[in-house]
Amino acid sequence: MRKILTATLMVLGWGVASAVSAATGTVLRDEKLYTQPSATASVAGSVARGANVTILSREGGWLRVTSGRTTGWVRLLSVRAGSGGLGGAGIGDVVGAATTRSDPTRVVAVAGLRGLSDEQLKQAQFNADELARLEAQSVTTGQASGFASQSGLAALKVQGLPKPRAEQQASPWGEN
């Protein structure tokens, strides 16, 4: 029943992005709640995998959430929006009901819009004119880096992320 309540469409106006009105989330792993958006801040409490939280705001890679009586900051990647639990399939809402968006300040537009089907892709015929249009719109590296620097973007050194242990055997040729 609570699901139905939380799935009720929230009609909210445009707001400041960081001051998001309450949205529900599910915790993806056991986590600490910090008093500040930093892992060096003091710990306010903890949340268990699968727990529902209310998302109050976001700052960088952190979400400010409330779980029970505790409010604190948790890593963005440790929470998923929506209250349907952890599973991948069939989560998130009551069939046919309007949906709660993770960020109600964004435009809500759901019903009646058509997707792109595999059949459409399968039947597709090569379109040389559209491809020529696409190719004509590509830009040079100079144009792109100029556009980047206009807004103060500069290339940073960032190390690649490690492959999780579970995936290490996944090479297509690797089972021998």
Partner: protein
């Protein structure tokens, strides 16, 4: 022991023992055929090739393909030439555009190319011309084809809030290309040697040889990749966006948005068919990121983000 090592060991053994009764060519051919058969749904009893199982799709029966010895290097080590890669990507892109045209908004298309090219420069791959397009469909999805072709749908673009989120989405697609995920699928599932037979043939329009390789239309885009390829594209793509100076939380924010959409929304049916659920992607990305980005201070550039008309 990896196949590469096995083959190298076999080559060494064969060259040092020229009079050996060991038939290297036969050995390699068998290895290739076994590798190609590996993808069949039923992996039981591979030792009985006479009982050919019924193929579900119209795919050619790989076991019956005669292996061209000149293609063995490609078949074993999986490398398409750059020219072949671009030919394959161009055909897939042209087909995809046959299913869905580009949004008729030159300023939008130029903006996405400027952002995408900058992110792609951080990938270190500069031997292809990077091309980006926004597709005129409300479906929520993004696509990559080999050789530098990247697409995002209008439906997905509409969900984005700032340039960092766009950079994150494009970074994921760029990563599919730099990691050659689709080429690996083609290598595993289709007959080998097809491209070699028509080397040098340059088609202006549709490329029939490549079309034979990729199946019907742009269906390769509907088949999807292994879920580990998607997790890898998330991991690699988020780093490209971070290297480009963007707030690295762009891609996770988009995944959060997707996770909040209702599962019955038909704009996401193909996306969910071809990708792990966004909640699983967030969890996998969280494992990989940990504290790595705690000190990064990227830009989100919400102010110059191009809004759809």
């Amino acid at each position: 022991m990896s196949l590469k090592h096995l083959i190298l060991a076999a080559l060494l053994a064969a060259t040092s023992l020229p009079a050996s009764a060991f038939d290297l060519g036969k050995f390699l051919e068998d290895r290739v055929n076994r590798k190609l058969n590996k993808n069949e749904p039923a992996q039981t009893a591979p030792a009985q090739p006479s009982t050919a199982p019924a193929q579900t799709a119209a795919a050619p029966q790989p076991a019956k393909q005669k292996v061209d010895p000149t293609q063995l290097g490609f078949a074993l080590f999986g490398d398409y030439s750059l020219e072949e890669e671009v030919r394959i990507g161009r055909q897939i892109a042209g087909n995809l555009l046959g299913a869905v045209p580009l949004v008729r908004d030159d300023a939008l298309q130029r903006y996405v190319n400027l952002v995408g090219n900058w992110v792609a420069q951080q990938s270190g791959r500069n031997d292809v011309t990077w091309r980006f397009g926004v597709l005129d469909t409300e479906a929520i999805n993004a696509f990559a084809a080999p050789g530098g072709y990247v697409f995002v749908t209008k439906g997905l673009y509409r969900m984005l809030e700032n340039e960092a989120e766009l950079a994150g989405v494009l970074g994921h697609e760029i990563a599919h290309i730099t990691q050659k995920h689709h080429l690996k699928v083609l290598k595993q599932s289709t007959l080998i040697g097809a491209l070699g037979q028509a080397a040098g043939q340059r088609a202006q329009g549709s490329d029939q040889v490549v079309q034979n390789l990729i199946g019907n239309g742009a269906e390769i885009m509907a088949r999807g990749l292994d879920k580990n390829a998607e997790y890898e594209a998330d991991r690699v793509g988020i780093v490209y966006a971070a290297r480009a100076g963007y707030d690295p939380w762009g891609l996770p924010s988009v995944l959060q948005e997707l996770a909040g959409l209702p599962s019955g929304d038909n704009r996401t049916s193909l996306l969910y068919k071809t990708h792990p659920h966004p909640a699983d992607r967030l969890a996998a990305l969280g494992e990989a990121v940990g504290e790595s980005f705690d000190t990064l201070r990227g830009k989100d550039l919400a102010n110059r983000f191009y809004r759809l008309r």
